[in-house]
């Protein structure tokens, strides 16, 4: 069934998104009547959401009777990488940039099937050190160092 409705999935996601965000717009603050002149704050977002919903319907309609296009296969690696990236943002606040970079530079190559273990270790130390020296010392940009902040500033 679904195979003959190309774009049904993204269309439905967009419709749900438009619906949810429309609901969010109903919670927008109101301005004192003396300031309201012409357009209200929620008008433009609602117009855009309406257009998105309409275009999604058109897209679904255009896709009827067509098969879904062939797409590259998604393997477990993509999902694992997604998790690593997500985790890195949480760790960023705690461990700081240098340690987090060290971890991602260690985990991602191994995850992607890199076999040269020694290279990976050297790489995982080299990249964060280079970034630290370049940005903090040469460019005077202050990056968060989390638990290392007493030593690296």
């Amino acid at each position: 069934m679904i195979r003959h409705w190309r774009d049904l999935l993204p269309g439905c996601v967009l419709l749900v998104l438009a619906g949810v965000l429309y609901w969010v717009t109903t919670g927008f603050g109101t301005v004192p009547p003396s300031f309201a002149q012409g357009m209200q704050a929620a008008d433009m977002p609602r117009l855009i959401l309406g257009i998105i919903a309409l275009l999604s319907l058109v897209m679904i309609y255009q896709g009827r009777g067509h098969d879904e296009e062939a797409k590259p296969v998604i393997t477990w690696r993509m999902w694992a990488t997604t998790l690593v990236l997500l985790a890195s943002v949480f760790l960023f606040g705690v461990l700081g940039l240098t340690l987090t970079t060290m971890l991602t530079c260690l985990v991602i190559p191994l995850l992607w099937g890199e076999r040269r273990k020694l290279h990976v270790v050297i790489y995982a130390i080299g990249v964060p050190v280079c970034i630290y020296l370049l940005f903090t010392h040469a460019l005077q940009l202050r990056l968060p160092q989390g638990v290392l902040s007493p030593w690296l500033s």
Binding site: P32, S34, F35, Q37
Partner: protein
């Protein structure tokens, strides 16, 4: 014990100058870099002024002074950043009327009682201006026009100092204005000269050339006293209106900062702003050394602006 011991040795004829340096060493401040948190991205008046102040102050101290951009939330990102730092004098915050309005709306983690003023760097009163070739010769002409019709007035975002000032003037003068918000002062200055709007509250720093060329006509200053650069322009106070708003920029620290550190910062910053370079900068933006003020004056001014802002915003229905 150690104190007695040192003074005992010192009594053996070391000069009083080195004594003074030893006493200072008791609170060795500053030994680390000092940061100034600014609520905007790089560029723009508040950031540029902070960079000038940082540079001038740095020359008075042994420490680096740098600007940290913490943009967002009408100053609330910068305020929560600063409130998370220890009250040790190493973190200053640039304060503008925007910060006070954000506090008033309850959108900030800290209140007016959590900060204390150190120095003021610029004080740029808002001036009501019309086009040079318009019919508005005096502020009374504008008021008259606003009572019979609607004045289109340019300013920055709704809820900012320009807007509060314009609405507060409209309230006092009992006129009707239609407020057109723009992204920056330069934009509504251009709109005024094109004739898209009738009047605007502008700073002298943005318009001194246009005033000199007669393109803009300053009608009244929103201050208690006339400006040195515009001695002929009356204040709104002279017209019996209690409307004083100004683009002020100054620096504060957290309330619990040790007093001797606040004093040290005040001294260094004041001395820095006395420098020729900072004075030239002020001159370039149409201001003079009257802009600079110490902790006492500035701290009072913050509190006065806060109360005035509260009154106006309640009148306008912006506060519950």
């Amino acid at each position: 014990m150690r104190h007695w011991f040192t003074t005992g040795i010192l009594a053996v004829g070391i000069t009083s100058a080195s004594l003074a340096s030893l006493v200072q060493a008791a609170d060795d401040f500053p030994t680390e870099p000092i940061e100034i948190a600014v609520h905007t991205s790089p560029g723009g008046g508040t950031d540029t002024t902070a960079r000038m102040v940082a540079l001038s102050t740095q020359e008075q101290l042994d420490s680096n002074v740098f600007v940290q951009n913490k943009k967002g939330g009408g100053g609330s990102v910068a305020m929560s950043y600063v409130s998370g730092k220890p009250a040790d004098g190493y973190t200053l915050m640039a304060v503008t009327p925007t910060h006070l309005f954000t506090m008033l709306r309850g959108k900030s983690p800290i209140g007016i009682d959590d900060i204390q003023g150190v120095v003021r760097a610029t004080d740029d009163p808002i001036i009501i201006m019309a086009r040079g070739n318009s019919d508005y010769e005096t502020i009374d002409d504008l008021i008259e026009a606003g009572q019979s019709g609607i004045i289109k007035w340019g300013g920055t975002q709704i809820g900012g100092v320009d807007h509060i000032a314009a609405m507060s003037f409209a309230n006092e003068a009992d006129i009707q204005i239609s407020y057109v918000p723009f992204d920056s002062g330069a934009e509504f200055a251009a709109a005024l000269s094109r004739g898209d709007i009738d009047a605007a509250g502008l700073n002298i720093s943005e318009t001194q050339d246009q005033i000199a060329a007669g393109e803009f006509r300053p009608l009244a200053v929103m201050a208690e006293e006339r400006m040195g650069a515009l001695p002929d322009v009356p204040t709104l106070a002279e017209n019996g209106m209690d409307v004083a708003f100004s683009t002020v920029r100054g620096y504060v620290v957290l309330k619990d900062t040790p007093q001797e550190r606040v004093d040290a910062l005040e001294q260094a910053m004041l001395a820095g702003m006395e420098s020729e370079r900072y004075q030239e900068y002020l001159d370039g933006i149409g201001l003079d050394s009257a802009s600079i003020a110490g902790a006492e004056v500035w701290d009072k001014q913050i509190r006065r602006m806060y109360e005035a802002g509260e009154a106006t915003m309640t009148d306008l229905g912006l506060l519950e």
